[in-house]
């Protein structure tokens, strides 16, 4: 095994940090965030409050940790929707290459791709009420064509391989071959794509909750912390800086991890990029 690329290590460390923060916050946070303590409001960083407190006296570090939960949960579920619906569609299209099914699935994909996703996400959350669930659905829908396309593109060359012909000779049907032989061979690519969509999901969730269409109060989220901080940007700029840094570091970590994984999993790319 060759040495792991430094970008992959850095990316995994950054995303691991925020995943760990979210997990720890399920059990423990430095200070409870449901209580409002106006006496403690807008304190600078101290030994008690490592990152200070916000306009309602809540501990910012604790808010960021719980906010990580929201971002990560929304993004993971949105990726889940994309994988659960997109991968079977892509596999079905590849298994029936050139058929009417393939044609319908791919044209449907092109149509969804043509939509400005954030505009439609805003439309959905605006019409059906802002909530984390609607944000997940809105982001998830646009993940479906991404995974369908990646799965189909990766599955097509697999279908020409000898071990597929062997499976066909053994009497296995297309569905079984897709599940048992094609899927394991394209899993690498799907994992890389999932990492990328995960980071895009975090950005989309932040944007939606920044404009008030994501998770609703009192659920903390990074995007809403930013929109609340905006009015105080003149007096307390740190309130606007910290949640943004959390978003950037998580997204950067996931992107580096995605690139690193792709290089590590595909030796051809590694040579081409050096």
């Amino acid at each position: 095994m060759t040495r792991l690329p430094p970008a992959l290590i850095l990316g995994a460390a950054l995303s691991g940090l925020f995943l760990a923060a979210a997990l720890v916050s399920l059990l423990w946070v430095p200070h409870a965030i449901d209580g409002v303590a106006i006496a403690n409001r807008l304190q600078p960083p101290s030994a008690t409050h490592l990152l200070g407190t916000d306009q309602l006296g809540r501990d910012i570090l604790s808010m960021l940790m719980v906010g990580a939960q929201t971002s990560i949960a929304v993004a993971i579920l949105a990726v889940g929707i994309g994988v659960a619906l997109g991968v079977p569609l892509g596999l079905a299209a590849a298994a029936n290459r050139g058929s009417w099914l393939d044609e319908i699935i791919m044209r449907g994909n092109d149509l969804i791709f043509a939509f400005p996703s954030l505009v439609i996400a805003i439309l959905i959350t605006a019409r059906y009420g802002p909530s984390a669930t609607n944000a997940i659905l809105a982001i998830g829908i646009f993940n479906i064509p991404v995974f369908a396309r990646v799965a189909r593109g990766a599955a097509l060359p697999i279908w020409t391989r000898d071990f597929i012909r062997a499976a066909q000779t053994a009497g296995k049907g297309r569905i079984r071959i897709s599940a048992e032989h094609v899927l394991p061979n394209i899993a690498n690519l799907l994992i890389v794509q999932a990492t990328i969509q995960f980071s895009l999901g975090i950005l989309a969730e932040a944007a939606l909750s920044y404009v008030g269409l994501g998770a609703q109060p009192p659920t903390p989220s990074w995007g809403r912390m930013l929109s609340e901080a905006q009015t105080m940007i003149y007096t307390h700029p740190m309130l606007a800086v910290l949640p943004g840094l959390a978003i950037v570091m998580t997204v950067l970590g996931l992107n580096l991890m995605g690139d690193g994984l792709r290089d590590a999993l595909d030796p051809r790319l590694r040579r081409g990029r050096a």
Partner: protein
Amino acid sequence: MARYLLTRALSLGLSLIVASVVIFALIEVIPGDPASYMMGLNATPENLAALRAELGLTGSPVTRYIDWVGGMLTGDFGTSYTYRVPVADLVADRIGVSLPLAIYALTLSTLIAFPVGIIAASRRGTWADHGIMGATQLGIAIPNFWFAMLLVLLFAVTLRWFSAGGFPGWSDPTAAIKALTLPAIALALPQASILARVMRSALLDTLDHDYIRTARAKGLTRGQAIRRHALRNALIPVLTIIGLQFSFLIAGAIIIENVFFLPGLGRLIFQGITQRDLIVVESVTMLLVFAVILVTFLVDLAYALVDPRLRRG
């Protein structure tokens, strides 16, 4: 060429039909009565019936859809429920902010991305390349609305070079362009990062071809070979991304306009949402989607002009 044009035009038409059906269904058909949503909980049955009649919600969904699309085609976007003016008038007012902003941002992003991508490709593997690639990674990871807040913090609050928001109107073009500068930079940075990466990798792909080796063998430097030969061939993927970016710029502008209190289409959608003015939301969304799909179509046509091989596709 005629066949290529025809298939592209057909798919443009189909996309627009599907888009309009989806938007119409999301707003007017799927569960929940738009009239009671717009009037809130305290609406009396009489008021609701009156609003339904006013919005034309009494007919079947099919006739309503045909009326709506027919109206849009003739420039009638409906009447805003809150402003009591035609939506077309509101759009005409606001497009003078949104369109210049999108063009400004796209221009900035292209002006930054081309030289940066070319430098990275011509000095592949050097510290300049690594530095540029690192910076673009960061640019992609930064949410544009947060970057906008940082710009306000630095240039409006601390340095006081720009105002923090608002729009003075086009009567004073210098002031108008100044007001759009921070928003355009905020929109352009993430797009420039993506474009620079695409530019670099498109150039690197092209550099593997024989004609570049020939050009190098004739004594051209790597940089000269890129500028004279590789650049034109790398333009196809770059054009694709520029087309796609228009869609991101429109979506991004919706949020950025809210950060800077710019009276554009994005802010109009949000005012529509908070005032539950569904007619405004429906028509303006359709207009934005139309713009995006049209740009995709035009980019497809542009390829065919750049690359004759695609015309046969």
